[in-house]
């Protein structure tokens, strides 16, 4: 039997996390970094061996797990999950490297790094599972470390944020549990036996059951993605969580929701997906604009980024529910880009906050003079988020919106409008913090007490350590921006084979948007 590389991608951080819990603080940090790096190496090895033209699942593993219930341990990697797995491993390394403040906590550092690695393991499991039951197992396992990380290590209102997060997600995922059980039962007549293996189920869900099952899965994915109006937990969770946790939540975990739509909702319940698409597209557009406007009026820049993240996730959902190949390709591509860009922005926000001692935009100004490197890095990340051609997000958002235009011109136009407030709030953030005059020494914002951090202002530019964390992300932004072809090259066949074939029984020919051959 070949080396089970997909299992290794999940279980290296899982076992490594359990071990980290028992290590003293410095050792825990080094160990966690090494484990995350090993995971990244594994994903890259998998990517190098990945055969790019194939659309089916590669490196597939299959073991019977629970007899009599059709529950198997099945993993597989295709073009849709490939880059998300690499992204999660990369963000795992980045966030653990960026966890210096948490590593200084003498008593809880071991717990912190254990939970971070468990979260990475859960996310990888979600992306790799090809059995619906196994997917659900990892889906729920993600919840535990995320809850504990937000609640234990977060800001002043962490407990409320953690409870809110867990209630929203638990309601969604328990509905999915009912859906998972019902899915097997509904399909068992057509399949011939009770199974929850995704490939076996495709095309076997009777039309009469699709509506209810779609809703059950939709509940979980819509909360996690998040889709407006199920996003209310997110600004609090992202704001209160410590910076590395926020990066992991916004960069990697939020992708699991969108991934669930692509992997399960569309191919398993095509009729229901087609019926629900206009409603979800409407919600996505509302979410894009609403959250952009929310981002405009925030004074806490971490909260601003949280709303911005939701707003941009809306573009991804718009692409998914365009239900055509361009939209889906673009959505997958943009999920990767969004992870890189949002991760970088939250990291930069954390760096600014530790230097300035506050997250209040009104209390800041003129940092560019003192922190030129940080300003430059921030500028690149902000431009990437705006979708500047030549940087990563352009290709993804372009394709996703192109898909939306093809599906319905109104949604395309409305979705494209997102660019205007996106530019506005990011410029407001950038200008408010980096440029302009230094604010008067005694800014007294009404709610400033909540966002003021204990650390005194220190005017120190990025060190080597900070750059080592940020430069890989920036390099990827530029690299993907200039040379995006390798991604859609691998995403397209998987989208065609694993999603489009059941979504539209006769798939339309794909126009080659990227002339790479």
């Amino acid at each position: 039997m070949a080396f089970p590389i997909l299992s290794a991608i999940i279980f290296v951080p899982l076992v490594g996390g359990v071990i980290a819990a028992f290590l003293p603080r410095q050792a825990a940090w080094a160990w966690a970094g090494a484990v995350a790096l090993a995971d990244l190496v594994l994903t890259i090895v998998a990517a190098l061996q990945f055969s790019r033209g194939a659309g089916g699942f590669q490196f597939a593993e299959h073991q019977p797990w629970i007899p009599g219930l059709g529950l198997d341990y099945s993993l597989g990697l295709d073009g849709i999950s490939l880059f998300l797995v690499i992204l999660s491993a990369l963000l795992g390394v980045v966030t653990i490297a960026a966890s210096a403040p948490q590593a200084r906590d003498p008593r809880r550092a071991g717990t912190y790094f254990a939970l971070m690695l468990l979260l990475v393991a859960g996310i990888q499991g979600v992306f790799l599972a090809t059995n619906v039951f196994l997917f659900y197992v990892f889906w729920e396992i993600m919840l535990v470390p995320a809850y504990l990380l937000i609640g234990t290590f977060g800001g002043p209102r962490r407990a409320a944020a953690a409870i809110k997060f867990v209630i929203y997600t638990a309601v969604g995922s328990l509905l999915m549990l009912a859906g998972v059980i019902g899915l097997g039962a509904a399909a068992s007549n057509s399949v011939g036996h009770y199974t929850l293996d995704l490939p076996a189920l495709l095309g076997h869900v009777p039309a009469s059951a699709q509506g209810v099952l779609f809703l059950a899965f939709f509940a979980a994915f819509a909360v996690k993605a998040p889709l407006f109006p199920f996003h209310a937990w997110l600004p609090d969770a992202y704001t209160e969580a410590p910076v590395p946790v926020t990066v992991l939540l916004a960069g990697a975990m939020s992708k699991t929701g969108a991934y669930g739509f692509i992997r399960f909702c569309l191919p398993l319940f095509p009729n229901a997906a087609r019926q629900a698409a206009p409603i979800i597209e409407t919600l996505a557009v509302i979410g894009i604009l609403y959250c952009a406007v929310q981002a405009l009026v925030q004074t806490d820049f971490k909260r601003l980024l949280a709303y911005s993240s939701v707003s941009h996730m809306g573009v991804i959902l718009l692409g998914i529910f365009a239900l055509n190949a361009q939209g889906l390709d673009g959505a997958v591509l943009q999920m990767v880009n969004h992870g890189i860009t949002t991760g970088a922005l939250f990291l930069i926000a954390g760096l600014i906050a530790t230097r300035a001692g506050t997250r209040d935009i009104r209390a800041l100004g003129g940092l560019a003079v003192r922190l030129p490197l940080l300003t430059a890095v921030f500028c690149i990340a902000a431009l990437s988020s705006l979708g500047l051609p030549g940087l990563n997000s352009f290709a993804g958002e372009f394709l996703a919106l192109l898909g939306a235009f093809r599906a319905n011109i109104a949604f395309g136009v409305l979705g494209t409008l997102v660019v205007i407030p996106a530019a506005w709030y990011l410029l407001r953030f950038f200008q408010g913090v980096m440029e302009g005059p230094k604010p008067s020494p005694a800014p007294a914002p009404a709610d400033g007490a909540e966002v003021t951090l204990p650390r005194p202002p220190v005017a120190r530019d990025l060190g080597v350590g900070d750059l080592a964390i940020l430069v890989p992300l920036l390099a990827l932004m530029v690299l993907i921006g200039i040379f995006p072809a390798p991604l859609p090259d691998r995403i397209e066949p998987a989208v065609t084979q694993n999603v489009m074939t059941t979504l539209h029984p006769a798939p339309p020919a794909l126009p080659h948007v990227f002339d790479h051959r």
């Binding site: 007899p67 219930l69 197992v137 407990a159 953690a162 409870i163 328990l174 059980i181 009770y194």
Partner: protein
């Protein structure tokens, strides 16, 4: 009719688990009378040996050939009896391991009686699970109830425990009366007390109120349902549970919440799904209604509690609701899910009660949610262990609780009762809230300052501290109780069980399917 029946040695072999427990109980009492007081702590070892011997005999019986029935169809050692016996023995063993440190801290002198009564109660539970005759069901029920009446009140000078014992005695005897009356009516209707004969009768006679036996049988079923619903603490027959569970010594609560429930569910499965299976339409509606209100009510009431021990009492009511799905579905798959759930519930619930017990101080202090604040900082190991058990009870994958819930909901969907799955899922959402609230207190809230003697005296008027020196109370209440060896072993076993059943559930699922008569 004249009975001629000779008891063979094979009959005795079929009830070796019961005999092992009984002998251990008698030995404990005998040895207790002769050894010096300072050595009485060692009596628990006799009890544990008895449990181990019973476990060994269960394994032997699993491999035994021939008809499992014994004593003329009075008891059996079929897979159902053996699996439920295993669960009861696990619960008894863990409760015994948890006991010594606890009763020492609570200042109880009569250790010998305590262990002997625990073993006798376990004997009754095993007997009830193995009974294939209504008379033996009742015998087992009484044999488990009588020692528990005493055990509930086994905390000298503590009003709450006295109240628990009295309450349990009164309400439980009332329920026993219902049960016995129900048995009498069923006997009157069918002319048999043997479950196999009852099944034969109801399968071959059309049941309707016009026939002479119809009203008797329906009345008997209703009374049996009430009696057993009381024992599994299903709503609306649950009112005794919170008070008794909170007031009784914690090892007893742990044993009761798992052992009694397992025995009573075994009887429910044998009597309703087994003997009365042919008339399922007559009782299925009642069981579905019981399951629904128990799931929803138990979870909603648990969410309002501020005392962790009491919250776990309501949580055990809620879990009785999930367990009732297995009966209400009435299929072999439902029974298999029921038995798996019972085993999973045993390890995670005993684990949770075990941590509560370790943290509990004299006179029930230290069980309030506020006492758990900042526990993660003070005792990180215990907090982490309790977090695992609570996540398991909430049904997080990777733990026993998730597989249990999944198999149960699966059985409901496949059995054509999808609405029970929906309601179970909704109830589980409420469950999430209160289990995670304890984790919230342990991890997210900083530890309060240690309470002073004045605060203790003023803040807990309901707890009787009469007869205890105020300084002693303060010391006991403010110093962290040490971990006894037995408690460490018990918690470790429960932890291993919780993870093992969640990660490699296949062996136990096989046993559960076997117990339910599935291939």
């Amino acid at each position: 009719m004249a009975f001629t029946y000779a008891i063979s040695s094979g009959d005795w072999a079929r009830i070796t688990p019961e005999l092992a427990l009984l002998v251990a109980a008698l030995l404990v009492m005998l040895v207790d009378a002769v050894i010096p007081a300072r050595l009485r702590g060692a009596l628990v070892l006799i009890g544990l040996l008895g449990v181990l011997a019973a476990l060994a005999s269960v394994v032997t019986l699993y491999n035994a050939t021939g008809s499992p029935g014994a004593f003329g169809g009075m008891v059996t050692s079929d897979p159902l009896a053996l699996l439920t016996t295993l669960i009861i023995l696990a619960a008894t063993g863990l409760a015994l391991l948890l006991s010594p440190g606890y009763i020492e801290r609570q200042g109880t002198r009569q250790q010998g009686e305590f262990y002997a009564l625990v073993l006798l109660a376990a004997t009754g539970m095993v007997l009830m699970a193995a009974a294939t005759n209504l008379m033996i069901v009742f015998l087992g029920l009484e044999l488990l109830s009588l020692p528990l009446y005493v055990l509930c009140a086994f905390a000298p000078g503590q009003q709450r425990a006295q109240e628990a014992g009295m309450k349990y005695f009164l309400l439980s005897s009332f329920a026993s009366g219902f049960l016995l009356y129900g048995m009498a009516l069923v006997y009157g209707a069918t002319g048999a007390t043997n479950l196999g004969d009852i099944r034969h009768f109801v399968a071959t006679h059309a049941l309707n109120p016009a026939t002479s036996f119809g009203p008797f049988l329906i009345g008997g079923m209703a009374l049996l349902a009430v009696g057993l619903a009381f024992k599994v603490s299903a709503i609306p027959f649950h009112a005794w549970t919170p008070d008794v569970y909170q007031g009784a010594p914690t090892p007893v609560t742990a044993l009761m919440s798992v052992g009694t429930k397992t025995a009573a569910f075994a009887a429910l499965a044998r009597i309703f799904v087994g003997a009365l299976g042919p008339v399922m339409p007559q009782w299925q509606g009642i069981m579905i209604a019981l399951a629904v209100i128990t799931m929803l009510g138990g979870n909603i009431l648990a969410a309002t509690q501020t005392n962790v021990k009491r919250m776990l009492a309501y949580s055990s009511i809620a879990h009785a609701g999930y367990l009732l799905i297995g009966i209400a579905v009435g299929t072999p798959l439902g029974l298999a899910a029921l038995f798996y759930y019972l085993a999973a519930y045993a390890v995670m619930n005993l684990g949770a009660f075990g941590v509560v017990l370790v943290l509990e101080r004299v006179a029930g202090l230290g069980t309030h949610l506020d006492d758990y604040r900042g526990l993660a900082a003070r005792r990180p190991g215990l907090a982490a262990v309790l977090a695992v058990f609570l996540f398991a009870l909430a049904g997080i994958p990777g733990t026993a609780g998730f597989v249990a819930k999944y198999t149960m909901f699966y059985a409901a969907v496949v059995g054509g009762q999808a609405e029970l799955t929906i309601i179970g899922v909704i109830a589980s959402m409420i469950g999430f809230y209160y289990y995670l609230r304890v984790i919230w207190a342990m991890y997210f809230v900083p530890a309060p300052d240690m309470p002073t003697a004045e605060v203790l005296a003023a803040g807990t008027p309901s707890v009787s501290l009469a007869g205890l020196n105020a300084a002693v109370v303060t010391k006991l209440a403010t110093t962290a109780p040490p971990l006894a060896v037995g408690a460490v072993v018990a918690l470790a076993l429960a932890l291993i069980g919780t993870f093992a059943l969640g990660i490699i559930p296949a062996p136990l699922i096989t046993l559960a399917r076997q117990a339910a008569g599935l291939p």
